[in-house]
């Protein structure tokens, strides 16, 4: 087989499409998710982010700690998880001090903060979806999320949407 044939097999059918499964609600991994999403959207990619499990915290309307969800346990869980503003870093979190230090350093060094990246994703019309199953476990409704979340989806619809492009799990 020629080298060019091997390359053509490896390459996605539609290289201008990026789909990200945002699983982690960690601050640093959300920065990676939104950096990739906004950078790709800005250079003309069609971008989709599918938020599931801890990732759902990033798209809650209430960015701090709040009793979001239906039922006693989901509400309690919702409170401890919080939203975008209370996302912990994946290493050396120091009981929530590290995200504050990161935000300070990002502002000081003129790097987009997590909140600015989320705003950019909204402005660039990045497609955002929430996972139906994880929402069900956590007692969350679509109305608990920012209005930019287009749809509540399951695996099969996500596979249809991401078909032919590149997919990342973060």
């Amino acid at each position: 087989m020629e080298n060019s044939d091997i390359r053509s097999l490896d390459q996605p059918k539609d290289p201008k499409k990026l789909s990200i499964i945002s699983f982690s609600g960690d601050f640093d991994k959300l920065v990676a998710t939104f950096t990739l999403a906004t950078g790709a959207a800005a250079v003309g990619y069609e971008v989709h982010i599918f938020f599931t499990f801890w990732g759902l915290n990033a798209i809650k309307k209430k960015q701090g700690r709040a009793f979001v969800g239906t039922g006693f346990l989901p509400k309690l869980f919702g409170f401890f998880m919080g939203g975008l503003g209370s996302a912990p870093v994946s290493r050396l979190n120091f009981m929530g001090l590290s995200p504050k230090i990161f935000r300070y350093l990002m502002r000081k060094k003129n790097v987009a903060t997590l909140e600015e990246l989320v705003d950019a994703a909204k402005a660039l019309e990045v497609n955002m979806y929430a996972c139906e199953m994880a929402m069900h476990i956590l007692g969350l409704q679509k109305s608990d999320f920012i209005h930019e979340v287009k749809e509540v989806l399951g695996v099969t619809t996500f596979l249809d949407i991401s078909e032919g492009g590149r997919t990342l799990f973060i």
Binding site: L36, G39, A42, V43, G44, K109, V111, A120, A123
Partner: protein, 74 residues
């Protein structure tokens, strides 16, 4: 037809691309965006991605130091 200036010399990835894209989306067809950017990734990729997205790159010129000017027509 108007010219809009955008200075992204102090920005970092991905905001270099994000700010250019958002500014381009606000322009009317035929308007020109004058982007000041630095060498490296912005200089390599902003003119290229603008072309790929169907915009016309009219000029890429060296301003001084590490700064370059790119003129993009929508």
């Amino acid at each position: 037809m108007s010219t809009v200036k955008l200075d992204i010399t102090r920005e970092h990835c991905p905001m270099t691309f994000v700010k250019t894209k958002i500014q381009l989306s606000k322009l009317q067809s035929g308007d020109i965006l004058e982007v000041l950017l630095t060498e490296g990734e912005p200089l390599q990729n902003i003119p290229r991605s603008a072309r790929e997205q169907g915009y016309k790159v009219l000029e890429v010129s060296h301003v001084g130091g590490q700064v370059h000017k790119v003129l993009i027509e929508k």
